[in-house]
């Protein structure tokens, strides 16, 4: 015991005596442990940890898969049929996508998210309310008395955790609703997006038997024990075949049946990025381990003589190993402690800068297992490398003064450095690719002028504005008030806003145009449309390339003008002048006169190609949608000032209407948030990798120089010039750096395939990021080697040769 204490004291003194060594080792460990733990904690939730449902591995998402929609859907009618006849599932359930805004009315009204779910929802997911009960089948019918399940959070915040809330009637959208239960704290919806309350979706099953309008549902199921996803797919195939004929030919071709695990559905678009982050942070950990190993290796080598003397004085190998181990462990404890703190800070940083839609980020917490694992890995590797030379070198040779050949330890160290260089190069190239891709994404021309534009989305509550007339009147009144505001250059209202299209679209073949080349029914792709007020084009800065924008006169009830996008005009009227021509956009719709052609605008986000589109005037129309509207303001003054006024005006009109506001720049910026986040993290990791590789190179060259001081002295005495010495040292570094770089290039060839799904208009084989990374790395390696190499150049031969 006392000898252990002695070991610790001695180790502490060693660490204190070599502050540079200790600092570098501790920082390397801390960085490696910190970054790995933080990233692992984030992706752990996405990739590995079980979901908060009992036997979550049995849960699947079921439905049809169409190319235009990234997630499975089901039509209500199909669902009823499948639910009745399916074999592979213990149970099936649905909810209505998007849920519904709902207002908790009464005193202090607030807007909540209500999820519309089937009565079987909780039982299928294996969730028990902590208070009260689930919905009954009877409550999940149209016109049943209204009931709701509230989340734990809402229960605590709104009802002060009062158990008596169960059975109480609350006012939702102005209607009495009975709270039947409280959900557990860990409850979460299986899809992203938050719900405060569950209410029955109340499918009108009776009317669906006929040919009523078909709602879209999200369906989930629990597999029977022992049934695999592949088996369930086969079992559902006949039902799928039977459903197909009811889809128009334009859809049918792309449709397929899909059953996938709930986790796959949840992490679909985060999966690729998660693996990339995990891979790169593991690479950083590897580099960190290598560095620690390298440092300890150097340390042990330089203490060979001391170790030999101790051995000669009777220390057993185990005793020597323990001394080494104590030092490594101490380093690990210090580095690990700082690493934990770093991981914690990094995690908070991630949360604050992460874009929306990274699943489970809020729940990510530092995991003790993860921290232990990373500390363990870095220490074990470090210790192994640190011990190896201590165990290998026979003591007598060193003591006899016949210095043995140093190549073995040196070789190992150089191999370690080469692998650091290789890994860093892969990371750097990856970061370069992501940055290049990000740059491409942000350089996508939008077709509009986003400078000084404020946008605002206003959603009216149905219970306050039940009719289209009242909705239109609200927006018209708001518009006329906003026009009075100073500093406004143009103002527009529209039902949707670029760079998205929204849900309004028709197929190209539905458009009736006399001159249009014929297209098979259902063919020609999608054509989007928006209804916009006259000010829309100038507010967004969308150029009208021919004809005119809408005017006030176009808002008259009998006017039916249309403005086409350039792409649509070119397709409908190839080689002709579309102005003044007549078109019918849908079967029963009115004939419309083309009054203008607007420049193309991005309407499918930044990544996907845009669809052709057309514009109709925003005005009272039974087919229109007025519950939600976007207000676009182009201002001469600061957009934030305008935002304030807009909020005030809306509140003056109706204080219960919530307003969300964004500048157009922010809105567009959101689209590249995730790529930016990914690129940023990878760049950070690559930077850490390069830094550590630099430290590694510095250490190895420094070691080389100090070990070979005598040799350098001899060479100088034999006629070498300092420049020759410098060249000799640099050539040695170059050999290993270049070997590492080649290995890295080879590695990138394979590793970077992982990045493919994250890249936009950039090929994984793009040579420029690799070339830039190579250059950067070589410069870093050169600088890292330069400092100690200069020391080699300045060796004083007399000094070097004086002492034996």
């Amino acid at each position: 015991m006392s000898s252990l204490w002695q070991d610790i004291r001695y180790a502490l003194r060693m660490l204190a005596n070599k502050p540079a060594f200790t600092l570098v080792a501790v920082l390397t460990l801390a960085l490696g442990i910190g970054a790995t733990s933080a990233v692992f904690s984030v992706v752990d939730r996405i990739l590995f940890r079980s979901l908060p449902y009992s036997h979550d591995e049995q849960l699947v998402s079921v439905g049809l898969f169409a190319p235009i929609e990234p997630r499975e859907f089901m039509l209500a009618k199909d669902y009823l049929e499948w639910r009745a006849e399916q074999k592979p599932f213990e149970s099936m359930t649905t909810f209505t996508p998007g849920g519904a805004d709902c207002d908790l009315t009464g005193q202090n009204p607030v807007r909540l998210n209500c999820a519309l779910v089937e009565s079987t929802f909780l039982t299928t997911f294996g969730i028990e309310p902590i208070l009260g009960r689930n919905f009954t089948k009877e409550e999940d019918r149209p016109h049943a008395p209204r009931v709701a399940l509230i989340t734990y959070g809402l229960w605590r915040s709104r009802f002060a955790g009062d158990p008596a809330v169960v059975g109480r009637s609350i006012s939702v959208d102005g209607q009495p609703t009975t709270v039947v239960g409280v959900l557990p704290a860990e409850f979460e919806m299986p899809t992203p997006g938050k719900a405060d309350m569950l209410v029955p979706q109340a499918l009108d099953e009776a009317s669906l038997e006929g040919n009523g309008p078909q709602g879209i549902l999200r369906a989930f199921a629990r597999l029977k024990p022992g049934v695999t996803i592949a088996q369930s797919l086969r079992a559902l195939e006949p039902l799928f075949e039977r459903s197909l004929p009811q889809y128009g030919p334009e859809f049918r071709d792309g449709l397929r049946l899909s059953v996938r695990s709930l986790r796959d559905r949840q992490v679909a678009d985060s999966k690729g990025a998660s693996w990339v982050l995990l891979g790169s942070v593991m690479a950083v950990l590897l580099v960190a381990c290598t560095n620690v190993a390298n440092l300890l290796l150097a340390r042990t080598n330089s203490r060979q003589k001391e170790l030999a003397v101790r051995a000669a004085l009777g220390a057993s190998r185990a005793r020597l190993a323990r001394q080494n181990l104590t030092e490594s462990l101490l380093l690990g404890i210090i580095g690990g402690t700082i690493g934990c703190w770093l991981a914690y800070s990094l995690l908070q940083l991630f949360e604050s800068i992460a874009p929306e839609g990274i699943p489970h980020l809020q729940q990510a917490s530092l995991d003790a297992r993860v921290v232990l694992f990373t500390v363990g890995v870095s220490l074990v590797s470090g210790t192994l490398f640190g011990l190896a030379p201590a165990m290998r070198h026979p003591a007598p040779e060193v003591l006899a003064g016949k210095a043995s050949r140093q190549t073995s330890g040196g070789l190992l160290r150089q191999i370690l450095v080469a692998s650091q260089v290789a890994i860093s190069l892969i990371l750097l190239t990856g970061a370069g690719l992501l940055l290049h891709s990000l740059w491409r994404l942000e350089a996508v021309p939008l077709g509009m002028d986003t400078e000084s534009v404020m946008t605002s989305r206003i959603t009216l509550a149905k219970y306050r504005y039940p009719s289209q007339q009242s909705q239109v009147a609200f927006f018209k009144e708001l518009l006329s008030r906003l026009r009075q505001m100073p500093g406004i250059i143009a103002i527009g209202i529209s039902d949707t806003l670029p760079p998205f299209g929204g849900s309004m679209a028709t197929t190209y073949s539905h458009i009736e145009a006399p001159a249009r080349p014929s297209v098979p029914n259902g063919g020609g792709g999608m054509v989007g449309w928006r209804s916009v007020t006259p000010g829309y084009f100038s507010a967004l800065g969308v150029p009208i390339v021919r004809g005119r924008a809408f005017s006030e006169a176009d808002t008259g009830p009998s006017e039916n003008p249309v403005i086409l996008s350039e792409a649509l005009a070119k397709r409908l009227f190839p080689g002709e002048d579309p102005l003044g021509r007549s078109l019918r956009m849908e079967r029963e719709g009115p004939w419309r006169q083309v009054v203008g052609i607007a420049a193309d605008v991005r309407n499918n986000g930044l990544r996907e190609p845009s669809d052709p589109e057309y514009y109709v005037p925003w005005k009272m129309d039974p087919a229109g949608h007025f519950q939600e509207g976007y207000i676009t303001l182009r201002t001469a003054i600061h957009p934030e000032t305008v935002a304030k006024r807009l909020r005030q005006e809306t509140a003056r009109l109706d204080p219960s209407v919530p307003v969300t506001m964004q500048t157009m720049k922010q809105r567009v910026g959101k689209l590249s948030e995730r790529p930016r986040f990914n690129a940023m993290l990878l760049t950070l990791f690559a930077g850490m990798g390069v830094l550590m590789a630099g430290i590694g190179i510095y250490g190895v060259v420094g070691f080389l120089v100090s070990q070979r001081t005598r040799e350098i002295g001899v060479r100088l005495a034999l006629g070498a010039s300092p420049r020759t010495i410098m060249k000799m040292v640099m050539a040695n570094v170059a050999r290993w750096t270049i070997a590492g770089a080649l290995l890295g290039l080879l590695g990138s060839w394979y590793a970077l395939k992982l990045l493919r799904s994250l890249l936009f208009e950039v090929s994984v084989r793009d040579p420029w990021p690799a070339a830039a990374a190579l250059l950067l790395l070589l410069i870093a390696a050169f600088l890292a080697a330069w400092v100690p190499a200069r020391r080699a150049m300045r060796v004083d031969p007399i000094e070097a040769l004086r002492y034996e």
Binding site: R405, E711, G713, V714, R715, L718, G719, L801, R802
Partner: protein, 232 residues
């Protein structure tokens, strides 16, 4: 004939903590081409220091130094290095062979610094291996040789580029007497063939091989004696 080495009032000072410490004081001496000279003196007398200066490894001193008529004290570092490279070979007490090079490669080093072409290098090395009777050892590493053999390679390395002058600082200090004698015999042969030699030694027997013994003490040259009873 012009002397090979001519020193006038050479002084070497170390400054430590503000106080000056003279290692060499007003050293003036001449060494003729073909001479074999020994420096002797107690430990700390400045022998090694003087040898480094003559060998042009050390450039910080005052006074005048002519090598073969060239004023070394006026040359810049580069010129001085060239002069050193072209004319001087070193032999060290602890051999200072390079550990991870073979005997052959060790012998090649001085040639590579003189940019001797590869082919010529190989033939020169083979020549010297032959002359020193160590052909069989050419692929061994220094730690596979005995001390005497190592010093043999050390001397071979010093002569390979046919220097005008060989400087040897206690070349037999680490060897037992039989090995030491072998090295001294070698020096004598080299000297007879025309190479000038300066050695530092504590041994009277070794000193007996030289023409002249110069005694140093506390940095001063205290005596010069021609060696009448020269060995051989």
């Amino acid at each position: 004939m012009e002397p090979l080495i001519q020193l006038r009032n050479m002084e070497k000072v170390y400054e430590a903590g503000g106080s000056k410490f003279y290692v060499l004081r007003r050293v003036s001496l001449e060494i003729q081409p073909g001479e074999f000279v020994t420096f002797m003196g107690p430990s700390g007398a400045g022998k090694s220091t003087l040898l480094s200066i003559i060998g042009m490894l050390d450039g910080s001193w005052t006074g005048e130094y002519y090598f073969n008529g060239e004023p070394v004290h006026r040359l810049n570092v580069k010129k001085r290095n060239e002069l050193h490279k072209a004319n001087i070979g070193f032999v060290f007490q602890s051999y200072h062979l390079i550990d991870n090079l073979t005997v052959f490669e060790n012998l090649e080093i001085p040639l590579s610094y003189k940019n001797v072409p590869h082919k010529e290098r190989v033939s020169l090395v083979c020549d010297i291996l032959d002359r020193f009777n160590i052909v069989g050892k050419k692929d061994l590493f220094p730690n596979q040789l005995s001390g005497g053999q190592q010093q043999l390679v050390g001397v071979a390395r010093a002569v390979i580029q046919s220097p005008k002058l060989i400087l040897a600082d206690e070349p037999t200090g680490n060897l037992h007497s039989a090995q030491g004698e072998e090295i001294m015999e070698l020096f004598r042969k080299l000297n007879e063939a025309g190479t000038s030699i300066i050695q530092v030694t504590h041994s009277e027997r070794n000193a007996a091989y030289s023409h002249r013994v110069i005694q140093l003490k506390d940095g001063w040259v205290v005596s010069e004696t021609s060696n009448a009873a020269r060995v051989g």
